[in-house]
Amino acid sequence: MTLLLVSFAVLLAIGLPIALAMMGASLLFVGWEGIPMSVVAQRVVTGVQSFPLLAIPLFTLAGSLMNESGISERLFGFTRAFVGHIRGGMAHTAIVGNIFMAGISGSSVADCAATSRVFIPQLAKSGYGASFGAAVCAACATLGPIIPPSILMVVYAWQANISLGDLFWAGVLPGLLMGLAMLLLTAYIAHKRQFPKEQAFAWSRLASETRKAAWALFMPVLILGGFRLGIFTATEIAGVAAMYSLIVGVVIFRTLNWSHVPKILLQTAKETAVILLIVAAASPFSWILGIEQAPQLLSEILVRATDKPWVILLMLNVALMILGCFMETIAIMIILVPILIPVLNLFHIDLVHFGIVLLVNLTIGQLTPPVGVLLFVASSIGKVGLGDVVREVIPYLIVLILALTVLTYVPWMSLWLPGVFK
């Protein structure tokens, strides 16, 4: 196992893509042990042949079709009419807009890029400062993987063998809590720095903007409602969501041309391929960790350290937070989840609850240097120094860590809705 883990770490450090690093480490291990190379190939190819994973390209397609239909402008128009009148209204608009965007797209990087392009120039022009704008855009993009649909949730549900519907419902309240925490912090900063107010609140404007955004706002309802009915599979719901997005874009909004569709199909296929290649490459990797008894080893170490689930959760949170600073979210998840599942079962920690804790941890990792992808995206698009964005993002990091603590030790936050809508 040492050979596998050390070679994997070295291959990652020299800059190989995660999928190739996993394949390389697995090949080295089987070569060393005299196992035929075709075993790795067989495991990789069977790793991708799974029907539930089909939800990934279809949810990605649904989100991309909605985005290409110009949905972000409609959603931000709606949220501006909703919260724009509060002091610091533009920053509030970005956060609330992201709560709704997260209910359509499943990727935090895509949400961050979309929000940053729209908001950073506007926030800078209105006196908020570009670095504050970039920090807000990066912080609120963490909601993407928590509020359903979420690509990371599809992968976790598949790995942990739990219901994707339960996990989707479980993400709703935690996502709202994180959003609320960021809104309260923004309100405090806005008051302290005397940020401007936007337009006055008007019911007529809210009604007209709601009408414009209604079709997009209905998408999360369609997805969660599909799971509530309990007769559709996740893949079928994702397929229906993609169809719905196509009809809304082409027929209702009329902002999506048929000629755009091939480009969207290609882009989403590539995005999916990159994730699923890692999932596939993780298959021989996890198999080796299994035959080398890594889960049992970890369980023994943790059992010796403590017998209290809350201490285990604390230790996992700290470890995930540190890992999140250095590694990509999908890599952490794919390597750790198969090893952690037996430990979680041993300590009777609910897998749906832990899924939310894990995802919140991983998204917070996207905000922390040196591998904070959201920081890089927001600072690049906003043309602001990374150091300035990091300084502005620290308060948001603190409130997100507080929200994570609540979510870790109040499992009800994650488990209430899945129980209600079973």
Partner: protein
């Protein structure tokens, strides 16, 4: 050498176009088949028995061809914490080392896949009754195409951009710092 590079570049362009079209068609087919399966199952109460197997087979091809196309678009995910070090003139040679190791892994995997395809030639899929080699072949084909694209980028732009990730590419395009 210049002529070879030009011919190889043209070949790679043709392969790239074919790859893109195939990926688009496969993704479109997957979406259409899933919708068709929903309609047949819930509206006509007549499930598409062979549908799931075909869709999973198509997904396998989409993943490996899409992964090859993602090399051209610099979309693969890597840990880029060392990226700034790799850009330093003193450590530029590390990019070549990484690329050579990457190529060695791809070639070894293609060899492993070849053996796997030969084993699956005689195995029939349960519903479609076709050789399972049709599904398994997606991996060596995808890896071979990844290799071709990697070599083309190496020849045209050097080793550094071959495995560059999406965030790195976006940050560099926007002129940001990482």
């Amino acid at each position: 050498m210049g002529d070879f590079r030009k011919i190889f570049g043209r070949l790679d362009d043709v392969i790239g176009k074919f790859e893109d079209i195939t990926v688009i068609v496969i993704h479109g087919l997957i979406a259409a088949l899933v919708i068709l399966a929903v309609v047949l199952r819930y509206v006509f109460n007549n499930p598409l028995t062979w549908g799931e197997e075909l869709i999973v087979g198509l997904l396998t091809w989409m993943v490996f061809l899409g992964a090859a196309a993602a090399v051209r678009s610099q979309m693969h995910i890597r840990i880029d914490v060392m990226a700034p070090v790799f850009r330093m003139p003193k450590f530029c040679w590390l990019n070549t080392v990484t690329l050579v190791i990457g190529i060695a892994i791809m070639v070894t995997m293609i060899w492993g896949c070849y053996e796997q395809v030969l084993q699956e030639l005689v195995v029939e899929s349960p519903m479609l009754r076709v050789s399972k080699a049709w599904f398994v072949a997606a991996m060596p084909v995808g890896l071979l195409l990844m290799l071709v694209h990697a070599l083309r980028i190496w020849m045209d732009q050097g080793a550094a951009p071959v495995f560059r990730g999406e965030t790195e590419a976006l940050v560099m395009k926007e002129g940001g710092v990482q």
